[in-house]
Symmetry: C2
Subunit: 380 residues, 2 copies
Amino acid sequence: MNQDRNEQPTQLDTPYLRLDKAQFLHNVLRLRQRMESHGVALRPHLKTVRSVEATHYVLPEKHSPATVSTLKEAEVLAASGYREFIYAVGITASKLPRIQSLLLGGVDIAVILDSVEQAKLVAAFCQKSGCVIPALIELDCDGHRGGIRSDSLLLVEIAHILQRGGAEFRGVLTHAGESYFCQSEQELAAAAKQEVACARRAAKMLADNRIECRVVSVGSTPTAFSGEEYDGITEVRAGVYCFFDLVMAKVGVCEPSDIALSVVTSVIGHNVEKGWLIVDAGWMALSSDPGLSSADEKDSFGLVSDVNGNLVEGLRVSQLNQEHGIIEHEKGQFDLSLLPVGTQLRILPNHACATASMHQTYHVVDVDNSTETWQRIQGW
Amino acid sequence: MNQDRNEQPTQLDTPYLRLDKAQFLHNVLRLRQRMESHGVALRPHLKTVRSVEATHYVLPEKHSPATVSTLKEAEVLAASGYREFIYAVGITASKLPRIQSLLLGGVDIAVILDSVEQAKLVAAFCQKSGCVIPALIELDCDGHRGGIRSDSLLLVEIAHILQRGGAEFRGVLTHAGESYFCQSEQELAAAAKQEVACARRAAKMLADNRIECRVVSVGSTPTAFSGEEYDGITEVRAGVYCFFDLVMAKVGVCEPSDIALSVVTSVIGHNVEKGWLIVDAGWMALSSDPGLSSADEKDSFGLVSDVNGNLVEGLRVSQLNQEHGIIEHEKGQFDLSLLPVGTQLRILPNHACATASMHQTYHVVDVDNSTETWQRIQGW
């Protein structure tokens, strides 16, 4: 870990990505304790943090289960001693040699798939290579993206293809992607129940066909905070809870004050006529992620706090160019002279995964103002 | 230059950023020749390519003028021998020491500003340090973002503040940011005229007050292809013309076939019920840039071509998650079995600057299928 206790974050050139370490640790602990109290394992999705240093805090041990969205994440984390992954993006034949290398290196990594076609590809690879690739079937619990319905006999067919081919059929996995659009506690609770019910139904159907699911995996940050009953579920996955963001605040699983991540920016100009504050954080620092704004709302690419983290009511990032952001007040004109050129502000992200992805490093600030620089894993 | 003529791009793991070298060189030459025929200098904006290797082709010589959007670009390019920059984002005091270091290293780099406040900051720094910082005043030619109106006496006031403080007042600069929304050749021609007229008016007003503008700088890719008359203009700036993208095709300054940049992706699944093709290029590979889609159009995050670069009519990227893209056909259902899991496709970017910014490297493919890897400059 690259520690530099003399470097003050206010001396860094803007824009930069700031991580409040205490808040990050608080967030990590909050979900860990919730899952412990429910007696179900947590398998954090590391696509949010994408950092070895951050992973040291997110995963309790080197053998703790983790989820990744790229093989690069698994490879870099494996080189740091982590041993237990699900690669949670549908597998293709071209990526199997890298899976094999990881397995040969003593890393447990499972792939996911949702078609006979993919099962045949994996089985053929296992047969040819002698490599026993663990595979999970992705279930569709809410029509969000991909996956197989939990009552489809395809599940049995795919499990058989994998087993016959010398792969390891390990279980089922689902993700309540639609839970990001929940608007009440009732909807969240229902999404969590539906996710669990879907996984359980698939596992039962497979068991009825004498196929064991060692892993029955569910999860998303909204449902991970909303589920109450996990019988038959072996693990819960979630990622963005480590940092939280404005989308999660809108969904209702955190407050804006729980957001550990921000982009520190400087005022670089004023458009007095239009009441615009111009800052040096454009989409290059924030991403263009629109968050969850509905059609009747104005665009917002982030809310604004002062350099100490106090939300400045009424301000929002209304437009982005590559290296320019425009901040407006909901009431139109405001006293721009209160925020002269050079003033530093923090932008709270719509989507922490997307904002963090625009940066190579985290500038991590602890409660005593000591800082560390954490590297983000880059690429695929 | 990292050349590897054995590496075939089809063997790379997807997603990756592919640059068609011949098309890139064609695009670079096209604007260079246009500006040469108009007798005005071209100052390419390197924020698009952000790569030393690409810059070798974009700039004819090490002393050729260039525009940058971050000091990091200037620093990395200066280390490769490039010598002549405008940092085209409003300057703040905290960035002046890095400007000074570049100047002391024999690099010519000018800053831009659009307020008395900033002029005083620059003047104070010059007075204290003895460093003569060249500065341009940013003009507002179309109400796009920042800048001072070309008829404002503030221009004279700011030039005097700079000169008295020991800075070098070097001229004026404007950017027709609204030209991205032009919908006809007439509108483009008008935007180009307005940009030139604005800069010329400001230069004349300053000259009338015995202040010389050594630099009178205009530019944007749409106006750079639309202007016909550059009297009194010393240079034209443009960036995205090097790659082109779907926004520029919509604006009308290129065809989709002129786009040199694409993201190569693999089909990783099908949602047969919904008629969705699922690919391994999400916003992490494409960015979330929405392009120029109007309210009555469906969202599109890119168009789709086959692996040989032939546009597949009717397909568009309709939704993005972190590592997943969803491709739909404009007619709804289509024969997904024609594109089985593992099929490679290319996604043409809405906004080349944004899509390229999601990657660390370009996989550059020449007409003989030889490839090179070019590094992108990262961070600020």
